[in-house]
């Protein structure tokens, strides 16, 4: 199998294990490309990509933009803050207007869950979901699993704990799908108020004690508390949260093994992890960022290959 089974990247839920492995294999080659003196290949010279960000993002937008540029695609950027969305235009109208300017692919981040799927059913372009509300963030999950594979050799059979604000996290849901499809065991850990009730239906372990979680796992993925999505208080104070669910160097040293620490960014130093953990050798946070470009290049490359086949 050497092509994706899907026409759009909406979520990890729709991908097969073979799709994920194909993306990783292609990303290996792109990782080599981005470490060359000239970090650019001409594959997508005739493709135009629109980056539509209806929600703030620094890392993901930069990462997508770099991935697109390194494939030689032409790109247009759009952010909701400075657009006609403020003037009352609907999502489909906005996108169709952009597509009239002959755009082949749309990378979209949107605050509403399901926005990417909605769009893929209504417009004639390849859609890449760069995060839709609290639903999925597929490229983040792909680069997380890719980074685990790179550091530990494989994802299959590894134990991964996802710690923090699971309720508001699209990264958590995509990661659960991706890790399970690749054969890893997944645990979520956090205060009861931040763990959704349907978690056991996804076949993941639930733990409320961080010490027990890190004793169990090979990899700890520390998520940020998404205060901007929390309309009510889910825990008494950030200080109390960080005392119970913040990862410290002492905790890592207390283990009889070395676990890998991940973070999708942006880090709130001193809340979910302390500075010395974030800067330690066990943290692969900056590798994740580097791999993000390679993985996004692979996704865009494989989807673009399906455009206008003769």
């Amino acid at each position: 199998m050497d092509r994706l089974s899907v026409d759009h990247l909406i979520g990890i839920e729709n991908l097969t294990r073979e799709d994920i492995q194909l993306i990783f294999k292609t990303a290996d080659s792109f990782k080599e490309v981005i470490n060359r003196p000239i970090k650019k290949v001409p594959s997508l010279r005739d493709i135009t990509i629109a980056n539509l960000f209806f929600e703030n993002s620094t890392r993901t937008r930069l990462s997508f933009e770099l991935a697109e540029k390194r494939l030689s695609a032409d790109i247009v950027n759009f952010s909701a803050a400075s657009s006609s969305v403020k003037k009352g235009e609907t999502l489909v109208d906005t996108v169709n207007n952009i597509l009239s300017m002959k755009v082949d692919m749309v990378v979209m981040r949107h605050p509403n869950p399901g926005a990417a799927k909605f769009l893929s059913e209504r417009v004639d372009a390849k859609i890449v979901n760069a995060g839709d509300g609290t639903h999925e963030h597929p490229t983040q999950a792909l680069l997380d699993s890719y980074s685990i594979r790179e550091r530990l050799g494989a994802v299959e059979g590894k134990k991964v704990a996802i710690v923090g604000d699971i309720l508001h996290s699209r990264v958590a849901l995509s990661n659960i799908y991706c890790l399970q499809k690749l054969g890893a065991e997944v645990m979520v850990c956090g205060p009861t108020t931040l763990i959704p009730r349907y978690m056991d239906q996804l076949g993941v372990k639930v733990e409320h004690n961080l010490q027990k979680a890190i004793e169990w796992c090979d990899v700890a993925n520390m998520l940020r508390i998404q205060l901007e999505r929390q309309d009510i208080k889910y825990f008494p104070s950030l200080r109390e949260y960080s005392m119970q669910y913040g990862l410290t160097l002492d905790m890592l040293k207390s283990l009889d093994k070395e676990i890998v620490v991940m973070h999708p960014g942006p880090i709130n130093r001193g809340v979910e992890i302390t500075s010395d953990v974030a800067d330690s050798d066990q943290a692969i946070i900056l590798d994740q960022v580097e791999n993000g470009v390679a993985v996004r290049m692979a996704v865009i490359y494989l989807l673009a290959a399906q455009i206008g086949r003769q």
């Binding site: 092509r3 294999k25 080659s29 080599e32 490309v33 494989l302």
Partner: protein, 182 residues
């Protein structure tokens, strides 16, 4: 499908030997020359010529593999996306003499992509091309090899396959002709 052996294992060996001595004529001791094989089949040519040259000259010769997938001009004109192989160039090609190697030179499009991919690694002083088989009169682009093992005249519908001792069990070159043409 009819097939005709156009290079048997004895002539195969003689041809490789001749190519090595031709390379030595130009590059002498290979102190500033590197050999780069184009993925996927050119790496076999490099491997064979490298070992032969090393036994003649008794010194190590720098070799690498180059993948050209992302530089192809037929991306999105194929059924499925071309899947890349590994690139392995662990030396600087800046100011080097590079000999690109492939098994069959046909339309020249692979070599065009290869040149493009190569230049992403730096600016070599000179680039030459060695091809084990040259399918004459079939070029889409103005590209010629500097070193040729054997020149053959072929129809577009025909296919030339180079087989290797290490992979297929025997060194030979076969010309396949579809029966409708015969």
């Amino acid at each position: 499908m009819e097939n005709q052996v156009i290079l048997n294992s004895r002539h195969f060996e003689l041809t490789i030997n001749r190519l090595c001595y031709q390379l030595i004529e130009t590059h002498e001791d290979f102190s500033n020359t590197v050999l780069i094989g184009l993925q996927p089949r050119g790496i076999n040519v490099v491997a064979r010529i490298k070992s032969q040259l090393e036994s003649i000259l008794d010194r190590e010769i720098m070799c690498g593999n180059l993948d050209i997938t992302f530089h192809r001009d037929d991306f999105r004109r194929r059924e499925s996306p071309p899947i890349p192989s590994a690139t392995n160039i662990d030396f600087v090609i800046e100011n080097k003499h590079v000999v690109l190697m492939d098994d069959v030179l046909f339309t020249g499009r692979t070599i065009r992509s290869g040149l493009d991919a190569l230049l992403a690694y730096g600016r070599p002083t000179k680039v030459e091309l060695l091809s084990l088989i040259d399918r004459r009169f079939r070029r889409d682009l103005p590209i010629q090899a500097d070193y040729v093992g054997k020149t053959v005249d072929t129809l577009v519908s025909e296919r030339v396959a180079v087989e290797w001792k290490e992979i297929e069990g025997e060194d030979k070159v076969i010309l396949y002709t579809p029966e409708s043409n015969g």
